[in-house]
């Protein structure tokens, strides 16, 4: 018993140190994010965004939208993309071997005509079945190809795109009309930028019409509501905070803008991983630093894309387990970056953070929970102290949530109704009770599946957009 007590005490003290370090870093991220947000707001004060609309020298952007069995929504999605406000835009819709009527809908709605399948095969992908153009919508290109997954579809899109910049999105993501005008800004302001990412917000509960979010609303359903608070924290604090601390490693798979020549030179998206978006960003940054090429990754908070999050525990669990498998895979593939001074802040701060905080968090948290329970049960740890410690941890998470909401309130204020603010506070407070412990379990399952070398996507079902989607991914809010 004495030995067990000793082991439990040692484990708990290690976890305590971990807890202090991680939470201190969250505090640093919060301050960094607030500073970056303030700086961004100052720089964009009264900025005339319509100026770029009339620019004759704006770089061309190709929107790459992979679609798999999106028949019911694909036409609306394409129309929504074609009406984005940007002066030089191309839309490349990649039908990734759909078995439903996706292609038939596209042919009918956009009067597609088949053109000869000639393109430069710079990166590999599954064979094309057809290439189509629309006389009525000259900016639309439709690629019909054999099913190969999201990475494969994006590679086909990158080959065929004609833009200097390519924007990878999910076909059912709703992008705000002005988003590209803001998203492109870092590319115009620096030759060293290789990718930019925008904020993903939760569309559940929002008023949506004709492919546009008319009014943001916080869902009443707890599971979706908690994810709204989680996404806000991840994007407004996590990703924004990293802008000043060495840059991001994750650019949303549902909404990320890349320099096309850099992506092609890096070999495009990697297949055989479920974390293809993060893998590409890490590779681009690593390659840029290796060869003195553009490597800066910038997160811009106000270009917004809306996505529907899972509203059932089963789907959410499958999504989170897949995200964690992806993270494990990317960390393993790039283990040479860990504490490698050659890569500067990427090797010494950003990558170690993703390993220690993002990857190992569920392991440490699980040990902590089990150890604490055992310790209290065996009398090794004073229960009063345990309860107090638990309260400190919960309180800290609550502080982060409230401060994130305050940042949102003082900056973008997307939720106008008082009821939405109250709901957000409620969901933020409830996120640490039950939900967080579930994510620990799902992420542990992800690590286990990674060790078993499993690369299946699971099923992502969406209620609002009626998508059953094994290939086109959803967005990860971690970090």
């Amino acid at each position: 018993m004495a030995l067990l007590h000793l082991v439990l005490l040692r484990v708990e003290s290690v976890i305590l140190v971990y807890f202090l370090l991680v939470n201190s870093f969250y505090g640093v991220l919060l301050v960094s994010a607030a500073w970056d947000l303030l700086s961004y707001r100052i720089r964009t004060w009264r900025e005339d965004r319509s100026w770029l609309l009339g620019s004759p020298v704006a770089p061309r952007i190709s929107m790459l939208a992979p679609a798999h069995n999106e028949g019911p929504t694909v036409a609306e999605s394409v129309r929504s993309l074609l009406t984005l406000r940007y002066p030089n835009l191309e839309v490349v819709l990649i039908n990734d071997g759909s078995t439903d009527d996706t292609m038939a809908v596209l042919r009918r709605e956009f009067d597609l005509v088949a053109v000869h399948r000639m393109f430069k095969r710079s990166v590999e992908h599954k064979p094309l079945v057809g290439l189509y153009r629309s006389p009525a919508n000259p900016r639309l290109v439709v690629v019909d190809k054999e099913n190969g997954g999201k990475a494969d579809a994006l590679n086909a899109g990158i080959n065929i795109a004609s833009g200097a910049l390519v924007c990878a999105i999910d076909a059912d993501t709703i992008i705000e009309p002005d988003a590209m005008l803001r998203m492109v800004a870092p590319f115009l302001s620096g030759d060293d930028v290789v990718a930019t990412g925008g904020t993903i917000r939760v569309a559940n509960g929002a008023r949506v019409r004709a492919g546009r979010v008319l009014e943001a609303r916080v869902p009443r359903q707890p599971l979706a509501g908690i994810q709204v608070a989680e996404y806000l924290r991840a994007f407004l604090v996590g990703r924004l905070g990293w802008n000043r601390l060495g840059g991001n490693l994750i650019i949303s798979g549902a909404f990320g803008l890349f320099r096309r020549d850099s992506v092609l030179a890096a070999g495009g998206y990697t297949e055989g991983t479920v974390g293809e978006d993060m893998e590409l960003v890490v590779r681009l940054r690593r390659r840029g630093l290796d060869y003195g090429l553009p490597h800066r990754v910038v997160f811009v908070a106000d270009p917004v894309a809306w996505t529907e999050v899972p509203s059932s525990m089963k789907v959410l669990g499958s999504q989170r387990d897949r995200w964690h498998r992806g993270l494990s895979d990317v960390v393993w593939r790039n283990r040479g970056l860990f504490l490698n001074p050659r890569y500067g802040s990427l090797g010494l701060a950003v990558f170690p953070y993703y390993v220690i905080v993002e990857l190992l968090a569920p392991v440490v948290e699980a040990f902590g929970l089990v150890g604490l329970t055992l310790g209290v049960a065996t009398g090794a740890i004073d229960w009063g102290f345990a309860a107090l410690f638990f309260l400190v941890a919960y309180g800290y998470a609550l502080v982060l949530d409230v401060l994130t909401l305050l940042m949102e309130e003082l900056s973008y204020r997307r939720y106008h109704r008082m009821r939405d603010r109250l709901l957000l506070l409620l969901w933020g407070a409830l996120g640490s009770i039950g939900y967080r412990q579930c994510t620990v379990y799902w992420r542990l399952r992800g690590i286990k599946k990674f060790l078993q070398k499993r690369t299946d996507w699971g099923t992502m079902t969406r209620a609002g957009f009626q998508t059953s989607d094994p290939a086109a991914g959803d967005e990860e809010p971690s970090g």
Binding site: L9, P56, V57, V115, H116, S162, S189, V399, L406, L425
Partner: protein
């Protein structure tokens, strides 16, 4: 003995410390919630109150721009709302209407305040000052020095301000900035030069004829967008530049301008060693609409470079009937590369050609 923290972290982790931490957290949470809800409440009330004022302000502005009265209504508005009313319409006004808006902003003291901001020691105030001058007018003496500001954001905004002016001295300064600046400023400078249009041509031609090296590329991009015949001599001279990038851009400029000398010079570049130059030359000849070069372009359909084959095919398609004849011939030829490029071009709907 049960662990209460003292064994491992005697100083830091004691129950009393944890209690204090929880108390601080509770305070932060309560204050945070109060701020979120209080701010929400305040913006709601202020929004409703301001909506009526803004509506009155907009009506007054509409009346003033139409030659009527309403200055006192605008002057009575709080400064922030006054700005909101004026800036709301500024980007969509031009010519006499915009001059009237500038005069109004001057009368309301907004221009003077913006010019004062341009002279601030704080970069963000200078940025905001020059931004207001760009949108509302003014800043004739306050903004030009900001083209040399130490902050790139301010320089870029000042370059944008120049787009509304046709001053030769300022145009020369913008052209010098093309050499020196990168990123935001270079994009803003290129954009402004193209928007200024015709007055840029003389200084740009001079710039192209005296400068050398890769820094000429952005100036050539401006020349390409302007495509003015006065730029042709400089472009033709650069067609023999030692850098492939410059030769390719010069060929594009010459092709966009067109005419006998341009076509003659660019036709010679179809045999250039660099693929990017051959591709640019092919595209330029298509743009120039010079159909006698169709046989040469047909030959390029078998080029070793994919980009050259594609641009030759695009050019043939752009040439119209003569080019189409060659494309049909290539499509049925035994050369797979030429056939592929030709078939793609033959299949493309006419409306998509301008997107290529």
């Amino acid at each position: 003995m049960p662990w209460s923290g003292e064994h491992v972290f005697p100083a830091a982790i004691q129950t009393s410390v944890l209690v204090r931490v929880v108390a601080v957290e509770a305070c932060v949470v309560v204050v945070g919630i109060a701020l979120v809800l209080g701010h929400g409440l305040w913006t709601g009330v202020a929004g409703r109150r301001n909506a009526a004022r803004l509506a009155r302000g907009r009506t007054a502005l509409e009346s003033i721009l139409g030659g009527g009265r309403g200055l006192n209504v605008l002057a009575a508005l709080p400064r922030r709302l006054r700005l909101e009313v004026l800036l709301g319409v500024a980007p969509s006004l031009a010519g006499a209407q915009h001059l009237r808006l500038t005069a109004l902003a001057d009368e309301l003291g907004i221009v003077a305040s913006a010019e004062a901001r341009c002279r601030s020691r704080w970069w963000w105030r200078r940025l905001h000052g020059v931004r207001l001058c760009t949108l509302l007018g003014g800043g004739a003496t306050a903004v030009p020095p900001l083209l040399d500001d130490r902050r790139k954001e301010v320089r870029a905004q000042a370059a944008q301000w120049v787009a509304h002016r046709h001053d030769e001295g300022l145009i020369h300064r913008l052209l010098r900035m093309l050499d020196l600046d990168k990123g935001t400023t270079r994009f803003a400078v290129k954009d402004s030069l193209v928007r200024i249009g015709r007055p840029v041509v003389g200084p740009l031609a001079e710039h192209l004829s005296v400068r050398a090296g890769p820094s000429l590329a952005p100036a050539l991009e401006v020349a390409l967008a302007l495509a003015d015949p006065a730029l042709l001599p400089a472009a033709l001279a650069l067609c023999a530049d030692e850098l492939p990038l410059i030769r390719a851009l010069a060929a594009s400029v010459a092709g966009a301008i067109g005419g006998g000398p341009a076509v003659e010079a660019v036709s010679l570049m179809l045999g250039d060693d660099a693929a990017e130059v051959r591709a640019a030359a092919a595209r330029a000849l298509g743009r120039a609409g010079h159909w006698p070069v169709a046989p040469s372009l047909f030959g390029l359909l078998s080029d070793g470079s994919w980009e050259v084959r594609l641009q030759a095919a695009v050019a043939l398609r752009t040439l119209g009937t003569p080019g189409m004849l060659f494309l049909r011939r290539a499509a049925s030829s035994g050369d797979n590369d030429a056939s592929d490029a030709a078939r793609l071009m033959l299949d493309l709907p006419d409306s998509t050609l301008r997107t290529l």
